[in-house]
């Protein structure tokens, strides 16, 4: 029953649904990328960066350097780097939302 429709369905998705929603898809992807860039809790709780800080995320690395290691300048520099990275993604996101509204 569903089998002969599959070709039709695939064409509908590939030719119509995806082209019409790809901006939204990109937007959702960007939002989750930003969220992942800022991930901290999971890393802190599950692995604490071990073994040998190989599982440290960026925010966790900033935290580790700023507070337990007290390398404040390094931590602050990394913070700025993080802010810059997120800024790039956010600007792309803003451009996309501007376009999709019109």
């Amino acid at each position: 029953m569903a089998f002969p429709c599959f070709r039709e369905w695939r064409q509908r998705v590939v030719r119509i649904t995806l082209p019409l929603t790809y901006k939204t898809i990109l937007l959702v992807t960007l939002v989750s990328v930003i969220g992942s860039l800022l991930a901290f809790d999971q890393f802190f709780l599950m692995t604490a960066g071990q073994p040998f800080n190989r599982t440290a995320s960026l925010v966790f690395w900033i935290y580790l350097n700023s507070f337990p290691y007290l390398k404040l300048g390094y931590g602050a520099a990394l913070s700025l780097l993080l802010a810059a990275m997120v800024l790039v993604f956010t600007i792309v996101q803003l451009i996309l939302t501007q376009r999709s509204r019109t």
Binding site: M1, A2, F40, F44, V59, Y63, F67, L82, A83, T90
Partner: protein
């Protein structure tokens, strides 16, 4: 098109159910593990379902270090201070930005929203030093300030947009009836944007209740810990018997309850709050 029930609908339903089951599985594991006895919670291999229902995990959690009530008070206190700060700051600001003839209003609004771009994670180091100078570390007010800064741009956006959605005619009618500016705000506008206020309060509560990194940086004395911090601490603490998983799961279960409760109670409001803010 009349609805036909062919195999596909059942297939979609089955897939949705499977996804729900996967999503809910950790929750079920948490709750069932919190009801196990200590020996059963630590058993290897772990048991799927609780054999003997016991509340001793909750009892141990109640008496853990400074005691559960202290931590609940800390978490709740920070959350309610966050809600209060958010509303006290965004309601006047939102009203002014929606109604008053201020030069460059749109620019000010967008400028305030720019705070959304800067991740607060990258600001924690300077915030910590400022707070250390002003003796705000280890205080609930300090933590609430951090949570408020996270929450303000979003709150302002919602509140301002729903103030704009209030028809000016109603306000004009109130002014003709002799209401002062302040009375217009409190009697006319605030009741009209109640859904938005509920939305803002709900999100402020959930952010503050779940927030971990800020609390970790600001609070470093055991008595001032919030609930997530205590649980993280209990996770890392290695006593003779290892981590007390039963107690940990009990803490997780308890920390889930308020969020779910608030969501369910205010669901009706917060959905309409979103639309009333966004459609405008």
């Amino acid at each position: 098109m009349p609805r036909r029930y062919d195999g596909r609908q059942f297939l979609v339903g089955a897939v949705c159910m499977a996804i729900c089951a996967v999503m809910l599985a950790p929750l079920v594991v948490s709750i069932s593990a919190s009801l196990k006895t200590a020996s059963e919670a630590a058993a290897i291999p772990p048991t799927y379902f609780t054999h003997h229902v016991s509340f001793e995990s909750y009892q141990r959690l109640w008496n853990y270090q400074a005691g559960l009530p202290t931590y609940l008070m800390n978490s709740g206190g920070a959350a309610f201070l966050t809600i209060a700060f958010c509303l006290l700051m965004t309601i006047p600001a939102g009203y002014a930005l929606a109604r008053f003839p201020i030069a460059g209003k749109e620019f000010i609004f967008v400028y305030l929203l720019l705070a959304l771009i800067v991740p607060y994670q990258s600001l924690l180091t300077p915030i910590f030093f400022m707070f250390a100078q002003w003796h705000l570390t280890n205080t609930l007010v300090g933590l609430a300030i951090v949570h408020t800064t996270i929450q303000i741009p979003f709150s302002l956006y919602i509140i301002r947009n729903s103030f704009e959605a209030v028809p000016r005619e109603i306000e004009e009618a109130a002014v003709i009836d002799g209401a002062s500016l302040f009375q217009v705000l409190t009697r006319i506008c605030l009741p009209a944007i109640r859904p938005a206020i509920v939305t803002v309060a709900l999100f402020a509560f959930i952010t503050s209740w779940n927030e971990f990194l800020g609390a970790l940086v600001i609070m470093n004395r055991g008595v001032t810990f919030t609930l997530p911090l205590v649980l993280a601490n209990a996770r890392q603490e290695t006593s003779i018997g290892g981590t007390d998983w039963g107690m940990l799961q009990a803490g997780i279960t308890i920390s889930i309850i308020p969020c779910v409760l608030f969501y369910l109670l205010l669901q009706k409001y917060y959905v309409s709050g979103f639309t009333s803010g966004a459609v405008k």
